[in-house]
Structures are given as structure tokens and as C-alpha cells.
Symmetry: C2
DNA sequence: CAGGGGCTATAACAAATGTTATGACAGCGG
DNA sequence: CCGCTGTCATAACATTTGTTATAGCCCCTG
């Protein structure tokens, strides 16, 4: 059993499609530069032209846009195993920022090395493209979330998604997972005010659907949470075992 | 000067990156089956496993999800030149529907032919991937739109985007373009009620920013429309001439 | 040419969500 | 150990947006 910083990336990619031992080895062979980043700090700035992409090893990151009127909208939350700026391989200017939500550990891989890997290992290339497409599928679902669900369901849905993403890379047992982010950040992700996020979290608690204390969240009633969230996991395109609930 | 049904696709791809004559020829050589589809009809159903992808030749299409409570959220609007289900090449199950907004003409291309094209013409492959990534960038902006902009700005933003997309494929002159869709459809796209869409459209008119009669929309004050929309076209990743305003 | 259906426009009212303010509490740094 | 700062919780109130209802209009079809 190897142990590499990129184990979590391999686990993530395998949650959406299988990889052979050779393909895994090729991923482990990627040149890395690993950086620890404090909380609330940009990893990639809006407007940058990156020459490398990153893998989340530990912690939570988000992608966001800041509007001229000061509001910030988070449009994705990233957990270990994610590659949040893979698109910069083909779109050279960043149209949004990438920042840490919590203190994180991030691995950077030069674009050149990724391109080489993708040309030598077509199935790894497919897996990475698939990852980008799932990323886009999650964006679509977020549009539905902020556009069509009321506040209570919106939060419930976000929790359902985070739970499955974390469980797919082995970061959740017994419906419990780390959720070390603030209600203000949830507000930026759901397009709600912090006050209303608080109201809705209180409501989820009093309905017995979740507990959430000191950064640890537990889903107490998964079926009911899914129901109120109108959650259908198809869009995550997880393979059989990662999707089983 | 050739004239092919796929001219509009070539124009679209060239609006985000150049193609050589040979590459264009390879695209024109794709096997097509062209279908006219009446308005308000599914082209691909949620849950389908398509074996072909389509190109919009004429008309307006949208991708959408229908929630259990009956609300429909549109998460993209597609115009001629777009390939709205290109992702089905790599994600085999549709997690959303694709439907016409207006009577449309659509060309279907078998996945096998697309895969062959992409393996033989790496730069066309890059262009198609780039198209998918721009698609994802538009999703991100839509999350911002429904999550962070008030109704008035939200509509303004949607009009800015449609205008630039249409102009990039030659379907707009003098800030005028066909907008043959209903306010109810705009409501589904912006996460607003039809009544509030109407209020906001009235407001845009009375502010002198647009006129919109019998399916023809004209932007009367582009700078001001962009300003109230907080519109920044970077996310469309258009090349120089397509982006000039 | 008449009738009907869908779309637009508008009003009155209801509900969801935002804003501002404040207190309690926990964690951290001096 | 104290005080600061950030976060959570909650209240009172403001605003935006949704809902229901209705009327007019345009366009299509018979």
C-alpha cells in the first residue's frame, strides 16, 4: 500500500471512474509543490494567468466572485481530492478567485506536467475531463439551488452535497463530518443573509435533521434531509459504492 | 466561400479561438442529421443516455431541471452555434433536460464521429473542450446572477450576455437581436416570478435601457445596461473582435 | 370576422428574506 | 486572567419578491 499526498486525488477520481495501478502510478509520479495556506487567503486571484493547477490535500477552499457592490458570491466549495482550477489548463485567464475557507494544504502541479500526463495516459485524461464535467454539473445544481429552492431547502441541499463529496473520499463516517466554516460563508454560498442562514440552521436543528457544534456536523435524519432538500445525487455522477446511502 | 449548416458552429468556435482551413473542413465533414423541433419540446430528456450530441442551427434552446415541487429552473440558454449537450460524450447519463424555447433547427452528430474528429484534430478537440469550459464559466456567472443580484440587475445581466453571445455568431446588428421568449421563461431562468420579471422589464424600459417588442429586443444604452447589471464579459472568454463593444 | 388562448400589464395583498441592532459566548493574545 | 474579537443567536423592523386576481391585447385559427 503506497501512501502519497495524492492518495486523496486518486480516491476522488476513482469515486467517479476506475483507474488501473499503472494509471495511479503515473498520477503519483507528478511533480508537486506543497503549500500550507492560512484561512481566508487567496490561492489564485481573479485575473491571474496560472501556469499550474492545484489539488486540495487538506482543508476547505471555495471559488467566488466579488461584485462591484461588495457582495461576494461563492460558487463552489472544494474538499480534499478536488482540483478547483483544472480549467486554467485551457482557459488562460481566471474569471474568479480561489480562496481558502479554512487553513489548508494544497499541492501545485505545473501545467506542463499535467499536459504530459494527459497525453501519455488517455484514461487519466478522461478521468480529469470527467472531473471537470462533474464540476460543471455541480454548478448547474447550484443554479437550481439558489434560483429555485427556499432558504431552508437550500441549506439542506448544500449539506447533502458536502456530505456525499466528503464521504466519497473517506472523510465522513456515521453521517458525521467536519464543517469548519462560518454561517457568513454559508450565506455567501447560498445567496442568503447571515441572519437568514442562522434562522434556517436553527430550523434544521429543531426539526432534528442535523446537529452542528464546534465545526462538526452530523446528519441525524438523512432521508428527511434529502426530502426537504429535494436532493437527487445523480448530478454528482458518483459510481456505485460512493453513491450508496 | 463554403456554406454549410455548421457555419454557425465554426463561427462560434472561432469567437473563442482560431481554426485553420483544414480544421474547419474537418468540422464541415461531420455526418449530420438535421431535425426541426417545434417550440417547447424536449430535445434530450433528463435521464437519457445519448449516443449523439447536437448543434443549435436556428432558434433558442435551454437546459433545465424540474424539481419535485413543480418549479422549473433553467440553467442555460442556447443560441445558434452552441453545442448544449457536448458533455454527454463523457458523462453518460443526462442529469437535466434540453428543450426548445422556440421552434428550432438542430443538427445531431454521433458521438463516434465526434470522438474520431477530436482524436484526429487535436486543435479542434481543444476548441470543443474550451467551449465546454466557457459553458461552465457561464454557469458560474449564473450562480452569481441568481444568488447575488437583485431582480432588476439580474435581468439586465441576462440581456447583456445574450446580446454578446448572439453578436459573436453574427446574429445581432446595432444592438438589436431577436428575443422570442416569454417573460415566464425569463422567470424560470432568473429564479423570479413572472410578475416580478414583468415589473423589472417595465423598469428597464422606463429607464430607457432597452426596448422589446414583438420578439425584437434593442439595447438603447449599452453602457448603462452593463453598469446596472454589474456586467464584466471576461467570463465569456471571447477573443478580441467578438468582445469589442 | 369572431372567438379563444396565451401573453403582458397592473393592482392589492401576503410571505420570504434582508437590515440593523444587541447580547451572549467562546477562543485567543497580551 | 482579562479584555478583545469574531461568531452565533435573536428581536424588531424594512424591503424585496411572490401570489392571486383581473383586464387588455395580440395573434392564431376556425
Amino acid at each position: 500500500m503506497v501512501s502519497s499526498p495524492l492518495d486523496v486525488l486518486v480516491r476522488k477520481l476513482e469515486s467517479i471512474g476506475p483507474l488501473s495501478k499503472d494509471e495511479q502510478k503515473a498520477i503519483y509520479a507528478l511533480p508537486l509543490s506543497i503549500r500550507s495556506v492560512p484561512e481566508h487567503q487567496d490561492v489564485v486571484h481573479d485575473g491571474d494567468r496560472p501556469t499550474q493547477s492545484c489539488v486540495v490535500l487538506e482543508g476547505f477552499l471555495c471559488r467566488y466572485k466579488q461584485l462591484p457592490d461588495g457582495t461576494r458570491q461563492i460558487h463552489s466549495i472544494h474538499v480534499p481530492g478536488d482540483m478547483p482550477d483544472l480549467q486554467s489548463l485551457h482557459l488562460n485567464v481566471m474569471d474568479h478567485g480561489l480562496a481558502t475557507l479554512t487553513a489548508s494544504k494544497v499541492a501545485f502541479i505545473p501545467h506542463a506536467a499535467l499536459r504530459k500526463l494527459m497525453s501519455e495516459q488517455p484514461r487519466v485524461s478522461d478521468a480529469l475531463w470527467r472531473d471537470i464535467l462533474v464540476d460543471a454539473a455541480i454548478f448547474r445544481e447550484w443554479i437550481v439551488n439558489v434560483g429555485a429552492r427556499e432558504a431552508y431547502a437550500r441549506l439542506a441541499h448544500l449539506l447533502c452535497e458536502l456530505f456525499l463529496k466528503l464521504r466519497a473520499v473517506g472523510l465522513s463516517q456515521d453521517f458525521t463530518f467536519q464543517l469548519p466554516i462560518t454561517q457568513a460563508e454559508l450565506a455567501d454560498a447560498t445567496g442568503l443573509s447571515t441572519v437568514h442562514v442562522n434562522r434556517s440552521v436553527m430550523h434544521l436543528r429543531s426539526a432534528g435533521l442535523i446537529t452542528w457544534e464546534r465545526g462538526e456536523c452530523k446528519i441525524e435524519n438523512w432521508d428527511e434531509l434529502k426530502r426537504v432538500a429535494m436532493f437527487d445525487p445523480t448530478y454528482l455522477h458518483l459510481n456505485g459504492e460512493a453513491k450508496a446511502a
